[in-house]
């Protein structure tokens, strides 16, 4: 295998506390090593360039039934953004929901090498994995929707968490997944009959439990199973004015699980759950309250779900939320897709506009949160692709974070009412490259429990991004535009020790790995006739045909986990 030596770059590696020092990075056999033989190694002269680990995205809807339905829904979106075939790369389309190959290419061009697919209905897992196989150049993992799964609900209602844990371990294996995803707990089941839950203590019809029970139950199960990532939570009441209170209550509900070592919960795209005001007319930011809570507590992490002002496509497993969004009016298409026994889903094409007061405040909330939460290891950068905006708009978000000037330039063009309500003018903080590296790779990898990703220490996976940014000569906050462009077009991207992007172009295509957890409980899940007959009652496919088989994963990376139950 080739050896590579990246010489003289400014290295930003927060995991190993390296903050812009000029140093060499050596790569051999797909890993970072201490040194290589310079005569044999391919030398990359990185002098004057910024070197980081490959980006790790912890929440981006890139594949699966929902995403694909979104693709099918929007020829009007694709026709704006056609991608030509080359000798090396396949053709495809963008814009807000790029086709699989284009997704891989675009991530790689931004220097990202790992992406989490955060919403996979268990029953549709095969489909998700078939699509993931077609996304080249990046490693990926999926989170299974388990918050409204009948087996989980029944066991939690019975207070039999051991049994619940065993079933969930089976499900994680059966769907080749990486984490427990909870979306509007209790709400999706209620949506089966067109209803929703509106607080943590509402009863879930027919099941005799509350959203609070589900969240606490699954958080407990998560620790019992020793999962590398925490529960990944999309809160109740998402997208409704005044919901920041529910969000804080949700975080409070998890306080007791904190042992002082690592976080116990992750709230995703929290921007959509940080709304204050009683209704849309009095809509305002609840970012300060959320940030204050997070600054005072250490048991949670969040990602922002930043709005980038794009004509995008919103999609979530939160079916009732999408319907309420549809009812606000102005949308021509609405998709709802319930999944028996497990989940729901909704899709609406949505254009976030600067001149719309609510949209502009939403944009502001995401940035306020990122700037007001003091510890960058708690808050991560996402756009909840494609909900807030497509993932290849990340460089725009970076610019708003590292440059006050960039924020002001955008805010100036926003709705006047929103400008008045925005807290951004009071915030002077500007992210450093070191902090940016935390919120885009080091912090996310840590939160996901992916020890070999997100950093450049010895033994780490050789995923490296090299950007045309010279921190010595450039004031990034003042010259935000060239830096923004540089983040969008890596000079080099190295994936597993192979150069895949060179001079901003794809030069090699290789499949990425699919990471999944083989969670072994002490006592395995009982697969007896009783379970099978229950299975037959609950689903419309046979037990034998349900699990994802090895056939569906082209390049697997199985991580064995020993559960404590």
């Amino acid at each position: 295998m080739t050896e590579i030596l990246i010489k003289n770059g400014f290295v930003f590696d927060p995991t190993n506390k390296i903050d812009g020092q000029k140093m060499d990075i050596a790569i051999k056999d797909g890993r970072i090593v201490k040194k290589v033989n310079e005569c044999n190694a391919q030398i990359i002269d990185a002098s004057g360039l910024t070197v980081m680990a490959g980006g790790v995205d912890l929440h981006s809807h890139i594949a699966g039934s929902e995403v694909n339905l979104g693709r099918m829904l929007r020829p009007d979106d694709h026709v704006k953004d056609a991608v030509r075939k080359t000798a090396l790369t396949r053709s495809g389309t963008g814009y807000s929901i790029p086709s699989t190959y284009v997704t891989g290419y675009r991530y790689s061009k931004m220097g990202y090498t790992s992406v989490m697919n955060p919403s996979m209905a268990a029953m549709k897992a095969k489909h998700a994995h078939e699509e993931l196989n077609d996304i080249p150049l990046i490693d990926k993992a999926s989170f299974t929707l388990l918050g409204d799964w009948w087996f989980a609900l029944e066991n939690i209602a019975k207070d039999d968490l051991d049994e619940c844990a065993r079933h969930i371990a089976w499900m994680i294996r059966a769907t080749r997944s990486y984490a427990i995803k909870i979306v509007n707990p209790g709400g999706l089941e209620s949506w089966g009959f067109g209803r929703n839950v509106h607080s943590l203590d509402d009863q879930v019809p027919n099941f005799g439990l509350t959203p609070r029970d589900i969240i606490k139950g699954l958080a407990k199960v998560n620790t019992m199973l020793n999962m590398p990532h925490t529960i990944h939570l999309h809160t109740n009441n998402l997208g409704i004015p005044g919901n920041y209170k529910t969000t804080i209550e949700t975080m409070q509900a998890l306080e007791s699980f904190y042992k002082g070592d690592k976080p116990v919960g992750h709230i995703t795209h929290i921007q959509f759950s940080s709304f204050a005001g009683d209704n849309w007319a009095h809509f305002k930011s609840g970012a300060a309250e959320i940030a204050n809570y997070l600054n005072a507590h250490n048991h949670m992490t969040i990602d922002i779900g930043q709005v980038t002002f794009a004509d995008t496509t919103t999609m979530t497993a939160d079916g009732p939320f999408e319907f309420s969004l549809y009812e606000l009016g102005g949308h021509n298409k609405w998709v709802n897709s319930d999944v028996e026994t497990e989940a729901s889903g909704g899709i609406i094409p949505f254009e976030f506009k600067r001149k719309n007061a609510v949209n502009a405040i939403q944009w502001s909330i995401g940035l306020e949160l990122s700037l007001m939460v003091k510890d960058p290891w708690k808050v991560f950068m996402t756009t909840d692709h494609p909900n807030g905006g497509p993932f290849y708009h990340y460089p725009r978000v970076f610019a708003w974070l590292y440059s006050r000037k960039a924020r002001e330039a955008t805010l100036k063009n926003c709705n006047k009412k929103a400008q008045k309500k925005s807290l951004l003018p009071t915030l002077d903080r500007e992210y450093t490259l070191y902090e940016l590296a935390i919120i885009t790779r080091a912090g996310t990898a840590k939160a996901l429990g992916l020890k070999d990703k997100g950093h450049l220490g010895i033994g780490a996976e050789a995923d490296v991004a090299i950007y045309d940014i010279n921190p010595e000569t450039t004031d990034i906050a003042q010259n935000y535009k060239p830096v923004r462009r540089a983040f969008g077009n890596a000079i080099y991207t190295i994936k597993d020790g192979e150069i895949v992007v060179k001079d901003k172009e794809i030069v090699a295509v290789r499949p990425g790995r699919t990471i999944w957890l083989d969670v072994q409980t002490k006592e395995p899940c009982r697969i007896d006739d009783e379970l099978k007959s229950k299975f037959k009652k609950y689903w419309t496919i046979e037990f034998d045909n349900y699990p994802v088989t090895d056939h569906y994963i082209k390049v697997p990376e199985k991580i064995g986990i020993k559960a404590s139950v």
Binding site: N68, R71, N206, N336, H551
Partner: protein, 502 residues
């Protein structure tokens, strides 16, 4: 003793029933349990019929003669690369793994790519692109639906186990099966018939229902009861309508008007007209009330909407009605997606290109437009100059004039048996039966991926269609590379470089 294989998936309609029990003896299926009559026909008899193609054929001097696989592959690849604008059509009876390679081939060729959905539920896909769709997986309907509407479809004929597995006659968590009620109804009808017969014998004047008076009956009281109800809208009474609680006979090509009227009624609007599409507005109002009062309603629609006048607009307004009903209760709508893996073809094409069917790669990137790049439109206008048909039979299912235009240019076919299009082909490939001799993935009508099983070995020398497509793709690349070389040589003599691939 034969080997029994359980949980086998039926490779015929969009239901993809996966509970078949197959008995195999000496590499032959001898028995099938649980499946429907059509499934039995294919799995036990049809797949081993004498009509099987066992080796590749090429038409020479007007006659199909057996040739080697290599010769057939070379010929096919040559035809496709020589063509300025080839059409690749079919894909429905293939696994999604084959469809996957198919997109790559179409892209490499710069041709048009379409699947059978353009003649079945393509209009449904187009309607979804206009308006979205509130839908659900079939189990959701099984557990919750207390009102099931079949509109312009006859599942009893086209999806024989749909009612028994997913809707009215299945046991859900919150809704019970109505099968017993149906049996009682049957018995009651039978005794009525007996009475009528006796009366006729005893010369009592018996008033026979006039078959000419095809008026719509008023909605029965039974629609107001608790429990599952089934309503059928169709232009003719079908097997499905026979078991329904209520059958509404609509005039042909008037579905759109009826849906429009129902939408108004659901919004409590008054209508100026009294009868729409042969149905009194008062009846429609009652039906709408039943819909609004349902806990969970489901509309299934079939080709009666997508193939009659209006086509995708019919589906669009059906979806609009469902969407409106969601403001009052929970309602879902679902196309009765038809043949085998047609949903898979849409799915696979969409994730690779963004578009589900009607694709064109002539510009080096995917373009989409039904009506422009759909098989029948290309054939109607005579736009393409070679055709590859895989796992489909346009010979039997396209209008005559389309087939005539197809036959003006070379035709390559890949099918397991001598169906109509294979009989018409110029290069004819054999293929394995996907789901019987070949494993893979198929997508159910509600786009759930299900793994197909291989239960018997294919006849010797018969490859999978995936292998054939792969081999053609490789050969096409070789031919294109040779062409580029030629062009480069021409360049040395100062000629313009115009060909040379993409």
């Amino acid at each position: 003793m034969g080997k029994i294989i359980k949980s086998v998936v039926c490779p015929i309609c969009g239901c993809l029933c996966d509970d078949l029990e197959i008995t195999v003896e000496n590499n032959e299926i001898v028995k099938m349990k649980n499946g429907c009559a059509v499934c039995e026909a294919k799995m036990v008899h049809g797949y081993k019929s004498e009509e099987r193609i066992l080796e590749p054929h090429i038409r020479k001097n007007g006659k199909l003669v057996p040739v080697s696989m290599d010769e057939a592959i070379c010929k096919a690849a040559q035809i496709l690369t020589d063509a300025k604008y080839p059409l690749l059509f079919g894909w429905t009876s293939s696994s999604s793994e084959t469809q996957h390679v198919g997109v790559e081939l179409a892209e490499e060729l710069g041709g048009a790519l379409d699947n059978c959905c353009s003649v079945c539920h393509g209009p449904s896909v187009m309607a979804i692109q206009e308006i979205g769709i509130p839908t659900a997986t079939l189990g959701q309907i099984r557990h919750r639906a207390d009102l099931i509407v079949y509109w312009a479809c006859d599942p009893w004929s086209s999806h024989p186990r749909h009612v028994e597995r997913y809707t009215a006659f299945t046991e859900g968590r919150f809704e019970k099966s109505e099968f017993k009620g149906y049996v009682q109804k049957l018995k009651a009808q039978a005794s009525q018939k007996k009475v009528a017969l006796t009366m006729r014998r005893t010369q009592v004047r018996y008033q026979q229902a006039d078959s000419q008076a095809a008026t719509v009956e008023a909605p029965p009281q039974s629609l107001i009861r608790a429990g599952r109800k089934m309503v059928v809208f169709d232009v003719r009474k079908t097997m499905t309508a026979d078991v329904a609680d209520y059958f509404v006979k609509v005039e042909p090509n008037k579905d759109y008007e009826i849906f429009g009227a129902m939408r108004c009624l659901a919004l409590d609007q008054e209508l100026d007209v009294d009868v729409v599409g042969g149905v009194p507005v008062e009846y429609l109002r009652e039906i709408v009330n039943v819909m609004v009062n349902a806990e969970f309603g489901a509309i299934f629609f079939g080709l009666g909407l997508t193939q009659s006048v209006g086509r995708f607009r019919n589906v669009e307004i059906a979806i609009a009605l469902t969407r409106d009903l969601n403001r009052k209760t929970k309602f879902v709508v679902s196309p009765m997606r038809g043949h085998f893996n047609v949903t898979g073809a849409n799915t696979v094409f969409a994730w690779q290109t963004g578009y589900p069917f009607a694709l064109d790669f002539s510009q080096g990137y995917p373009q989409y437009n039904p009506g422009e790049f759909t098989a029948n439109d290309l054939l109607r206008r005579g736009d393409n100059d070679a055709t590859l048909v895989i796992s489909a039979d346009p010979g039997a299912h396209f209008p005559k004039s389309s087939v005539k235009n197809m036959l003006k240019h070379p035709l390559i076919t890949i099918n397991p048996d001598w169906n109509a299009i294979s009989r018409l082909g110029d290069v004819v490939f054999p293929a394995q039966w996907c789901g019987i001799e070949q494993a893979g993935t198929a997508y159910r009508m509600d786009s759930i991926a299900i793994s197909l099983k291989k239960v018997v070995e294919a006849p010797k020398g018969v490859p999978t269609d995936e292998e054939i497509i792969r081999q053609i793709l490789e050969k096409v690349r070789v031919i294109k590379a040779q062409k580029t070389e030629k062009v480069e040589k021409l360049d040395d003599f100062g000629n313009k470089n115009i060909a040379g691939g993409n």
